[in-house]
């Protein structure tokens, strides 16, 4: 590195960072600008092949929001519930690995990541079989009268939320584990010596110290879950479609790029606003 520094002087750092900076500028930041201009173009005069011209048509936003706000709300609701589910399940597992696994720590961590090397779509499809109408789970629930005679799980909001929870669980577990692992077990012992009950030890010692992982994990789960449409498509019904379904349909089948772009921009703005609010509330701004 020092050799580079000597030859190129102060520019060595820029030579190293250059390729990444250029790639992300051209193919991440610049496209965001394209998305913005497309969202303000007239859908009637342009086409996906010839492109669109900017006409500052703000009505695209009014129309997109007016027509598709239920999908947006559904996305936020489903992703929110799935994130909570991930937090509960993920916390239990991350806690077990960090404090209770002993010499099996590494093995359990590998086991957390391993299932996700099977294709996302193939695994999501298998839930279709598990939750099927004549499947084991539905039959059992019907026998126990938890589910009605013709009750079903597939094609319900439950199936979609369950799919989201399952698919984004590792994104919750890994950050949680990272911050739980850093906690000195002696702090817990000290609290016990001072007569704190197990519940007090959790709420006063472990939970506050794990907050960076909680914030990181919930963000990494909530953001992709909000934009996801694979679970809603494969496990849901037309009544459980999320905003991702609509954006995708408007781009690919309808070819209505301006409205699709407007919807995309709205989703992005909503997420950024919620993330900033959430991070401020949680008091972990140094995370960003």
């Amino acid at each position: 590195m020092e050799a580079l520094q000597r030859v190129f002087g102060k520019n060595a750092a820029y030579l190293l960072i250059g390729p990444a900076a250029i790639w992300l500028a051209v193919f991440f930041l610049f496209p965001m600008l394209s998305l913005l201009t497309t969202s303000l173009s007239d859908p009637a005069t342009g086409s996906p092949i010839n492109g669109y011209t900017l006409t500052w048509r703000v009505d695209n936003y009014v129309e997109a929001l007016g027509e598709y706000w239920p999908y947006m709300m559904r996305s936020l609701l489903y992703a929110g519930i799935a994130t909570l589910g991930c937090l509960v399940l993920g916390y239990v597992l991350a806690y077990a690995i960090a404090f209770k696994a002993g010499r099996w720590k590494t093995v359990m961590l590998v086991l957390v990541i391993a299932p996700f090397f099977t294709s996302f779509l193939v695994r999501t499809l298998s839930w279709k079989l598990i939750l099927a109408d004549n499947g084991f789970i539905v039959n059992t629930l019907q026998t126990l009268h938890i589910l009605g005679e013709d009750g079903r799980l597939l094609a319900t909001p439950f199936a979609v939320i369950m799919g989201l929870t399952y698919n984004f669980l590792p994104f919750m577990i890994l950050p949680l584990y990272t911050s739980l692992e850093k906690i000195d077990p002696k702090l817990n012992e000290a609290a016990a010596d001072l007569y704190a009950s197990p519940w007090q030890r959790f709420t006063k010692v472990i939970w506050p110290l794990s907050l960076p992982g909680v914030v990181g994990g919930t963000l990494l789960t909530f953001i992709p879950a909000t934009g996801d449409y694979i679970n809603a498509s494969l496990l849901g019904s037309p009544n459980t479609q999320m905003v991702g379904n609509k954006i995708q349909q408007l781009f690919t089948t309808a070819g209505d790029y301006p409205h699709a772009s407007a919807l995309s921009v709205i989703l992005m703005v909503l997420i950024v606003a919620m993330v900033l609010f959430y991070v401020r509330r949680a008091g972990t701004e140094e995370l960003l």
């Binding site: 696994a101 099977t118 079989l129 963000l219 781009f251």
Partner: protein, 274 residues
């Protein structure tokens, strides 16, 4: 026996619950492995286990277009991994080893792709390609560009954390022993960072191989493996898809376990020679 199991569970309640969560995460993999032995010749539309067969494993490429899509996914995955790993590793070195103007901006720009929903990234790239007049030429190259883009950040994060944890005394020791800068870099720094680069590459490949949402918007008529599965899901999924899923799982598990065993053996060897 039952009381002993009961006692163990009582003592290790959190561990038991954790193992239950882990088992839940494996349900789909179990189903995928099971379905890879399913004989679906009677009805392809019925997605349930009918009867046992080795056929799917013996003729994995039987469904039309599946292995072709697999080849496309592997080529894109390898190319994207190569480019993203090189670009990302260089950037990680710059961020850890150099103080330069714009460093915090760069950190933010690297963080953003990980915090943006895929559907937004995919649609903005599509908007760019159409605006630049490439609307009719979507395919292999546009998908590759997209995959490199979203892999870079993950590579930087992985390599950066390895590099930041490096003991700089090792490099100082090398230069005390009259190693020049290149020798220090190639004999000390690089071998120590290499495991980080390797896991970054593995992560990049699996992200690229598995991507659907961004690919679907920018692929034109090119069909990757996830897109093949998506298309098949509308008609009736060929059981060979489950063979591929199981193979990928076993392959990844093998690589990870192999790497672990190797690093443990190396650590032991070092302890002996020291």
């Amino acid at each position: 026996m039952i009381t002993r199991v009961g006692n163990w569970i009582g003592k290790h309640l959190m561990l038991t619950l954790g193992i239950l969560v882990l088992l839940y995460m494996y349900i789909p993999n179990f189903i995928v492995a099971l379905m890879s032995f399913n004989d679906s010749s009677e009805s392809r539309n019925l997605y349930q286990f009918q009867s046992f067969t080795w056929d799917n494993w013996l003729n994995p490429c039987a469904p039309q277009g599946m292995c072709e899509s697999l080849r496309v996914s592997i080529s894109i995955g390898l190319l994207a991994t190569l480019v993203a790993t090189i670009i990302g590793t260089l950037a990680a070195f710059a961020l850890v080893r150099h103080r330069f103007e714009g460093r915090s901006t760069m950190n933010l720009v690297l963080f953003l792709p990980m915090a943006t929903p895929e559907i937004v990234m995919g649609s903005s790239l599509l908007a760019l390609f159409v605006a630049a007049g490439f609307g009719g030429q979507l395919g292999f190259w546009t998908v590759l560009i997209a995959h490199i883009m979203f892999c870079i950040s993950f590579v930087v994060v992985t390599v950066r954390s390895r590099l930041a944890g490096l003991d700089s005394n090792l490099e100082k020791a090398a230069s005390d022993l009259y190693a020049n800068e290149w020798q220090t870099f190639w004999r000390i720094t690089f071998p120590l960072v290499f495991p980080g680069i390797l896991s970054a590459a593995l992560l990049a490949f699996s992200l690229s191989f598995d991507d659907f949402i961004i690919t679907n918007l920018n692929s034109g008529t090119t069909v990757t493996f996830p897109m093949f599965v998506w298309g098949a899901a509308q008609r009736g999924v060929p059981m060979q898809v489950n063979v591929i899923g199981t193979l990928m799982f076993l392959l990844a598990l093998g690589i990870v376990i192999g790497g672990e065993v190797l690093s443990r053996r190396r650590a032991k060897g070092k302890a002996v020679t020291l």
